[in-house]
């Protein structure tokens, strides 16, 4: 069979190569962001998605453009997958006026009306309850779309998780909850934080269907998301997916990850890298050749370089612009306007 016509999991070669491209893009984008952070180009905190790409790429490939997405702060990749131009995402990380939120949101707060990305939350667990609210609005308006709520294993420890799942369940809200269990919340191992070893009993406690998925397998994530979306969008209420995954880097750029062993990290990187696994699978199925991988890498490298160039060349927001967009009428913010001081000689 010709390479062009090969399929896997019901996906065309083109679709599969696109998923591969997206994973590579997410990886390179984050690696580049890390470099720029080290150079002092990016302020604040920076949480990288490296290692978890199969989750986002698999799930988003089963979403419809109208679906809403809410997440935590490890979300640059979600923003790109949801359709925000990576240039604007990079510029937002740089705090530039050309960023997707004019440089006012930063790395943890990606947002887009156009792409239905309700986006990143820096407060752990916030998106869970917010997602229930969005789900209620969708249900109220009789729309055929879902709210996808993404969170980490740490968010499960907040009361918000339990409040959101219960509410979504009793009101049968069209919300798909996905826990990307990367096994740590900062330095806290999930085995120490959870009273149970998986979310299955918790899903049962709120009468919500549950699937556990290999979060290093993009196609498995896609399949789970398809099932969950189908369930939720047709009025059957929420769905809970737990993926088992791993972040290859520290919690943020500031974290040397002393709380886990280098052997453990090495094991995941060497044997469970989602991109390598995907490439192997596609090559074995005769869908992808080494030339394809190289072409993708080159294309991505060029794009990411261009994103950085764009962000670098863009201006910072005008300080005066910070007084706007606080309240809609601008009234409150002006009350105690600061003037930058005039330096004395």
């Amino acid at each position: 069979m010709a390479v062009r016509e090969a399929t896997l999991a019901g996906l065309s070669r083109e679709q599969l190569l696109n998923m591969h491209y997206q994973m590579v893009l997410l990886r390179r984008f984050e690696e580049k962001a890390a470099e720029e952070y080290t150079l002092g180009k990016i302020g604040g905190f920076l949480h990288l998605y490296i290692g978890q790409e199969a989750n986002g790429v698999g799930m988003f490939s089963a979403l419809h453009p109208d679906d809403y997405v809410l997440s935590a702060y490890r979300e640059h990749g979600y923003a790109i997958l949801k359709g925000i131009d990576p240039h604007a995402v990079m510029a937002e990380l740089f705090g530039k006026a050309t960023g997707s939120s004019k440089g006012k949101g930063g790395s943890m707060h990606m947002y887009s009306n156009e792409h239905h990305l309700i986006g990143g939350q820096a407060i752990v667990g916030a998106q869970l309850v917010m997602g229930a609210g969005v789900g209620l609005a969708i249900q109220y308006q009789g729309e055929h779309r879902i709210a996808l709520v993404l969170f980490g294993d740490g968010a499960v420890d907040e009361g918000a998780f339990h409040e959101a799942l219960n509410l979504a369940s009793i009101w049968k809200l069209p919300v798909v909850f996905v826990c990307e269990n990367n096994q740590y919340s900062m330095g806290m191992a999930v085995t120490k934080a959870w009273a149970v070893s998986s979310l299955e009993p918790r899903a049962a406690a709120y009468n919500i269907p549950y699937r556990k998925v290999d979060g290093m397998d993009a196609l498995a994530m896609r399949e789970a998301m398809r099932e969950a979306r189908e369930h939720a969008v047709n009025g059957n209420g929420p769905f809970l997916i737990e993926s088992l995954t791993y972040r290859f880097r520290g919690h943020s750029m500031a974290d040397p990850a002393y709380y886990r062993t280098r052997e453990e990290e090495q094991m995941w990187k060497a044997t469970r890298d989602p991109i390598a696994l995907f490439e192997e699978k596609l090559k074995a199925a005769g869908i992808m050749r080494d030339e394809d991988i190289q072409a993708t890498n080159e294309k991505v490298d060029a794009l990411v370089e261009d994103c950085v160039r764009f962000a670098d060349d863009s201006p910072f927001p005008d300080p005066d612009s910070l007084y706007t967009e606080v309240t809609l009428d601008g009234a409150g913010a002006i009350a105690w306007r600061n003037k930058p001081s005039t330096p004395r000689e």
């Binding site: 302020g43 806290m188 934080a193 709380y259 910070l322 606080v326 105690w336 600061n338």
Partner: protein
């Protein structure tokens, strides 16, 4: 490290430490001196806290006294409450200013009110430590100055150090105090160094400190802005102006006696904080000074702080933070009035 600080009676141990280390030593000594002291929060154990304030304490005192909690701030605060009721001396950590908000309900509705609500039968001897303030190149939730929320709640004591020595002395006093203390740690000053001598007596929890004496105007600061005010005073001195700098230390209760005595002398006052000026602590101080010293004042009280906007993005925060120049301009305004 903590082990080198054996406080054998009589002997003094002098060393130069950062504020973070001074806090660490205060926690260490509290653990050592009082078996009822327990320390907990997110990643305070093995990791030693994101600012390393609890570094090494679990190693030395064990996971029964210094322990990690799941990621659940309301529960952390309420756990402190439960422990305090049974006679422990809990010292809980909130990781950053805005992460204390999930615990706000427990703090304001329960911890602050138990003493009153029980007719004095139950007191809440506990400390909640919160790193606060900006100037570390972080974004909103990691840079806020939430003191007004806590000051506005009766039943809480709210304290903030500005130097390593005070960090030690105030935290020691906070742990020993029978009331609930919100202990705000100015995170931009965690790395400030100073020589301290231990053992050190605890500081009074309700007394401001004259950080520098002067005669032409009083600059009232606390936490992160005290060093800024001292820098301004240094520059003013070079220009021939003598500034008195008050370090409030306690934000609630407020030491009006020290403030009034100073302003009675200088007749001019500038309050400076990182929190928004609108309804910030400066508003209360200005009102009280105006009321108590109306006939003495030579100029209206000036206030310096942030604008009423969400904390600005990292890249532009310096434009909004109080600096020495803004303090000096405010002083000029009081002198030109």
């Amino acid at each position: 490290m903590a082990k080198t600080m054996e406080t054998t009676t009589g002997a003094t141990n002098v060393s130069t430490v950062t504020m973070g280390k001074a806090l660490n030593l205060a926690l260490h000594d509290a653990l050592q001196n009082d078996s009822r002291v327990l320390i907990f929060g997110e990643d305070v154990g093995k990791l030693g806290g994101v600012f390393r304030v609890t570094d090494g304490l679990q190693d030395e005192f064990g996971a029964e006294r210094v322990f990690d909690t799941p990621l659940a701030e309301a529960t952390i605060a309420a756990t402190a409450l439960g422990l305090a009721m049974k006679g422990f001396r809990p010292v809980a950590e909130m990781q950053f200013d805005a992460f204390s908000y999930p615990s706000f309900q427990q703090v304001t509705s329960n911890i602050a009110k138990y003493h009153t609500r029980t007719g004095g039968a139950c007191n809440m001897q506990l400390v909640i430590r919160i790193p606060y303030g900006g100037n570390i190149g972080a974004i909103e939730q990691h840079s806020e100055s939430p003191e007004t929320y806590y000051i506005h709640t009766a039943g809480l004591k709210v304290v903030t150090p500005s130097t390593p020595a005070d960090a030690y002395a105030l935290l020691t006093a906070a742990i020993a105090d029978p009331d609930p203390v919100i202990f705000l740690e100015p995170k931009s000053r965690y790395w400030m160094r100073q020589e301290i001598a231990l053992p050190m007596p605890p500081a009074a929890l309700d007394k401001a400190r004259i950080a520098r004496e002067g005669s032409d105007a009083t600059v009232i600061a606390y936490g992160p802005t005290v060093q800024t005010a001292l820098a301004a005073a240094e520059q003013a001195a070079a220009e021939g102006t003598s500034l008195e700098v008050i370090d409030l230390r306690s934000l609630s209760p407020l030491d009006m006696e020290t403030i009034s005595a100073s302003v009675r002398k200088t007749r001019r006052a500038v309050v400076v904080h990182e929190a928004p000026v609108f309804m910030g602590l400066g508003a209360e101080i200005a009102a009280r000074v105006m009321h108590d010293l109306f006939d003495v004042l030579a100029a209206p009280v000036e206030r310096i702080g942030n604008a009423t906007i969400p904390y600005p993005p990292a890249r532009v925060e310096k434009l909004f933070l109080p600096d020495a120049d803004r303090i000096l301009e405010a002083v000029d305004r009081t002198r030109e009035y």
